[in-house]
Symmetry: C2
Subunit: 235 residues, 2 copies
């Protein structure tokens, strides 16, 4: 139940922290499991830049040892509504993988988490991916995570020298409601988090995008009052 503490010494973990609901819960779980947590966020040109301020608040609230923000402008590559202002974020769910998919995003983010973990001497990487109440992104599925872990253990000096990496996905089989209930039990303050793809600079949510819908449904199904701050609609 508590792999980090059971070894007798506290173990370090690197955690991908977007500032949204899922990654905040994932961080609370890693901390509860006894890991010393190092949070990694990306300033990647996302239109919902307010999530970075949320990541900072969550890091402070949950006592991470270091919160690193890497500058990596994925607008150079484009191909996503989240990094290209000429592609609108959809307000209705469509069939297939939505235009908010960012090409290879989790591969890139996990690759940099792997590099930092190796430098820190950490063997554990946490990512709050979820394959139940999610948008259908391929890089949130268990088979992707398993393949990344296998690749990571061939890629690195640490793994070659006998210190393999493990990618932890504690949320992957939970519903959004179960994630929220788990986070509430661990004391996560969800009013600090920002999930909306169209969040304004103050972090106020649109209430219309896929991410807002999944979040709102999650609070409803969890029987928890939704602390999300929505911006007022124009009449």
């Amino acid at each position: 139940m508590n792999p980090a503490v059971d070894t007798g010494t506290r173990r370090k973990a690197v955690l991908l922290l977007s500032g949204g609901l899922d990654s905040a819960t994932c961080l609370a779980i890693a901390r509860d499991e006894g890991y010393d947590c190092y949070a990694l966020s990306f300033d990647y040109g996302q239109r919902h830049h307010a999530e970075l301020a949320a990541a900072q608040r969550v890091s402070q609230a949950l006592g991470v040892l270091e919160h690193k923000v890497i500058q990596l402008d994925l607008r150079d590559i484009g191909g996503s509504a989240l990094t290209d202002s000429t592609i609108d974020v959809p307000t209705e769910q469509a069939d297939g993988i939505p235009v908010t998919y960012v090409p290879a995003r989790n591969t890139v983010f996990l690759a940099l988490a792997l590099g930092w973990a190796e430098v820190l001497g950490a063997q554990d990487i946490f990512i709050g991916v979820n394959a139940v109440d999610y948008s259908g992104y391929p890089d949130c599925r268990p088979e992707f995570i398993a393949a990344f872990e296998q690749m990571a253990n061939l890629a690195t000096k640490a793994s070659v020298e006998g210190y393999p990496f493990q990618i932890h996905t504690p949320l992957i089989h939970l519903t959004k409601a179960e994630i929220i209930q788990r986070g509430i039990a661990l004391g996560v303050d969800y009013s600090s988090t920002v999930s909306c793809y169209n969040a304004d600079i103050a972090g106020l949510a649109c209430g219309c995008c896929d991410s807002c819908s999944l979040r709102l449904q999650g609070f409803c199904m969890a029987g928890v009052n939704d602390p999300t701050k929505y911006r007022k609609k124009r009449n």
Copy 2:
């Protein structure tokens, strides 16, 4: 022999281009195979920054359609003599993986190449890794490349929709001398390339580091005059 042309339409390939001898040869091979080449380089805080100017020269000489340079400061992560000025580049070969290893570098670079390839509609990625006359980096080995390709094909919208990616490593089983002979046959001007880990701003090589040694031996074994420009030693 010529997969890109055999399809009847020219195919796009993304190619990782450092500006060194291997990646220049790899680009020449991809072009010879009929691919329209898109070159990707990284300004990652490397001490041998002169390689980026070399990458630009090589791109122009070999007719790439676009040369993109992504800013990604790996000094934020550290852990390598190539990105940390407090760690000296060794002048003698030591046992094991050398301190010039950059944690997860090829994983990070291939991940971004994958993202760009997906946006371009390219299914082919070339990387000039070599597992014969090399420094022993784990992320240059065939088993790493195979694992990356498998992971990439679970990570992306394109592969889920039936357009899988292939990672090409045409140099992986060649000696350095064979690489040079191949490049000469394809018209590569190696005087444009920079391999030295300690290259100065003008691209002049130290002649002492592991990368210089492998390059010099390669030219010698290939029976080709070494066009590398070395800087004068202090007395």
